[in-house]
């Protein structure tokens, strides 16, 4: 009975069978990519409110995601930012790409007092409308 070995001596000479290693490496890469993305979301720890209605559209340009946690911490595209720097950052983004949609991902339990300054800043920056992210209610 032949035994399996990672080093075979068939053919022209001994060689290492790299197929299992490629399998494992690929699975690990995919795993870390997904877990990393989930970790970023978890770090933001935003639980979206749910809604019966909603729009599911995708655009050619990536929208700017404004995150607001339950504690009132603000982030732009996953990067935390102080509230006093938020206005300048969002105005710069809007000036560079006025057509880029703005999506607000605010925690369902956040007090509206944490959301209002963001809305006010967006309005002051000349942004006419926002997209409020929700979770589809089953």
């Amino acid at each position: 009975m032949r035994t399996r070995s990672i080093i075979t001596n068939e053919g022209s000479g001994a060689r290492i069978n790299v197929t299992p290693m490629i399998d494992v490496v690929m699975v690990l890469i995919v795993f870390y990519l997904l877990v990393g993305q989930l970790a970023i979301d978890r770090k933001a720890s935003i639980l979206l409110p749910s809604s019966h209605t909603g729009i599911d559209e995708s655009y050619e340009v990536d929208p700017v995601i404004v995150g607001i946690t339950a504690e009132g911490l603000v982030s732009i595209n996953g990067v935390s930012i102080e509230l006093n720097r938020f206005a300048g950052e969002i105005e710069g983004m809007h000036t560079r790409a006025p057509q880029t949609p703005i999506r607000v991902r605010a925690d369902r339990s956040a007090p509206y007092g944490a959301v209002r300054p963001i809305m006010h800043t967006l309005r002051e920056a000349g942004i006419p409308r926002v997209e409020l992210m929700t979770e589809q209610r089953p």
Partner: protein, 158 residues
């Protein structure tokens, strides 16, 4: 002796039993081995399916940001010639109330039912201007927007 030798030779040339055949012997394979790729693809597929079911589906509600600070929102800053309802959300005894829709403040659940019961011809094209106090939870604002959007209203955040 010859007969015995002949018999042994004949036995060695006999085909192997079916249960001893290996259909995937190296000699019978041609081209790349697809098995690991199929394995990895299946694992990735299952992982994506599982993560998608855990994460839930996200979508969005669209809301206008009218420029005016006028409480009536009827002035030049918001130039849409559309009738407007103004809803003011506030907390009382740990519950969310809405002022502005109807004669007196009512629980948000009552207002949502009232919006759902509106006829499409009435609700369609209306703008619901929403204002909320600092202590009102964000989910309440979104719930009102959700009801208004399902009735065909347009939403303006004030």
């Amino acid at each position: 002796m010859n007969t015995a030798f002949h018999d042994h030779s004949a036995h060695s040339k006999r085909p192997r039993p079916l249960n001893q055949r290996n259909v995937l012997t190296r000699s019978s394979r041609f081209g790349p081995n697809m098995t690991p790729m199929v394995d990895v693809t299946l694992v990735i597929l299952i992982f994506f399916m599982a993560s998608a079911s855990i994460a839930g589906h996200e979508w969005f509600l669209r809301a206008d940001l009218p420029e005016t600070q006028d409480p009536n929102l009827q002035e030049s800053g918001y130039s849409l010639p559309t009738p407007m309802l103004n809803a003011d959300l506030f907390m009382r005894d740990g519950q969310v109330f809405v002022r502005g829709i109807g004669d007196e403040p009512r629980l948000i659940e009552t207002i949502i039912e009232q919006i759902h019961s509106m006829e499409d011809s009435v609700a369609e094209g209306l703008i619901l201007g929403i204002r909320a106090r600092d202590d009102v939870p964000y989910w309440a604002v979104v719930s009102l927007q959700d009801a208004a959007a399902s009735a065909g209203m347009r939403i303006a955040i004030r």
